[in-house]
Symmetry: none
Subunit: 249 residues, 2 copies
């Protein structure tokens, strides 16, 4: 058991319990207390933990684990069906916007071999597409670690410099009354993407249709088409308003 391995274990334990104790460490790792102390001191001098009497604590107790790709996707089959249809709308040569919705993210797997340019503010999308045929542009600005995406005024400004042929976006909710978001930042980005593309698709599974969350940020006419797995009943009224509905079933 060398230092590197111990360092790993100590940081693991620290992450799990928020604190470690020298005696427990020494016992658990089969090392002397003095070595445990040395380890903690070194880690502390690198700023990786906070040394206390008899042990150590996490420096930043609020740090979240590194869950990069959102695997907690709800009903992935429906979303994949939506994305298959969406991918069918994309031609080689297209310049497309993709935002940071969880459904939009699943579109990546279907467009890896297309000769297109993707402009996005979503870190997972960037990661997914970075080594394939598509050419990537990244929206710059403040990074929101909660949503793993870039937002803010600089981002909006940046988006406005581009013009896309198609945009594929998500929302938190949509009803005949308009589009709904959870945060103002999200709303601003969505609006800007839509305003700078020739044709805007909304990707949303059935659970989003009819949902009105706290911020109504745009009229329905911001977007041109909805790609969804929802059926007839839920979609009543949308087509009357000139919306194109692409049903995936």
């Amino acid at each position: 058991m060398n230092f590197q391995k111990r360092k790993q274990k100590i940081l693991e334990q620290l992450n799990a319990h928020g604190e470690v104790d020298i005696k427990q460490l020494a016992a658990g790792l089969a090392i002397s207390e003095i070595t445990a102390r040395r380890d903690l001191n070194q880690l502390a001098s690198d700023g990786l933990l906070y040394r206390t009497h008899g042990g150590a604590m996490k420096v930043n107790p609020f740090e979240k684990p590194h869950d990069f790709i959102n695997k907690a996707a709800k009903n992935p089959e429906a979303k994949d069906n939506i994305c298959r249809v969406a991918a069918g709308q994309i031609c080689d040569g297209d310049i497309i916007f993709m935002d940071c919705g969880s459904t939009v993210f699943r579109l990546c797997q279907f467009i890896k071999n297309k000769k297109i340019k993707v402009i996005t503010n979503s870190l997972p999308v960037i990661y997914e597409l970075q080594n394939c045929a598509v050419s990537l542009n990244i929206i710059g600005g403040e990074f929101d670690s909660e949503r793993q995406a870039v937002h803010g005024s600089m981002a909006g400004e940046h988006i406005s410099k581009y013009r896309a042929s198609k945009a594929f976006l998500g929302v938190d909710g949509i009803s005949v009354n308009g589009l709904f978001a959870n945060t103002e930042n999200e709303a601003a980005i969505t609006t800007t993407f839509a305003n700078n593309s020739d044709y805007t698709y909304l990707l949303c599974d059935a659970s989003k249709i009819g949902k009105e969350s706290y911020l109504r940020f745009a009229d329905l006419d911001l977007i041109d088409a909805i790609i969804t797995d929802a059926d007839g009943g839920k979609l009543e009224g949308f087509e009357d308003k000139g919306m194109v509905i692409l049903n995936v079933n």
Copy 2:
């Protein structure tokens, strides 16, 4: 059993268990410990594993799909020493630029708990810092998948909108004649970062000092200080030109 075959086995075992032990390796492959050591050293210098006392570990225990990490693993001790010094130069409240050099990347681990703002064009840096105390800004523009970073004219424009207190940059080579890069894009980004920060540190290990690659893109006075593990001989002439040298040994 030749080296190639052993190399394969070692990497296999490393992948399976995350670490290898010299004694076990020697016994398992029917070679002397000294040969095992030699093998591990060679693999380490190729960046394929991380050498430890008595064995070796996987380069990065967290699965990272891209080989960027590998470059970062070439003589990691020297680079880590450089980064420790660099981290020591950073104060809470600083706004810092970080570019896409492999040494610069290793700085991440030492600044995770600092209360600073990091502005970067490097995807690995973003990935590494996305869930910690630092606040992140991403430079937008064209994405270069080779270097896993953003570059191009839009990126330069974007950088110019920010002003940092300190910049931590890498280069391909540096001599008393100036700074050298491999590509014009890289050179442009480096220059822009340096021009928009109050104080610019160059992080470079000994192999970069004195090296002159094909594109000389700036005079020495673009940067303020060099942090390096190189010793006296190689550094002759730099201090005469007003350069601050922070030696890590």
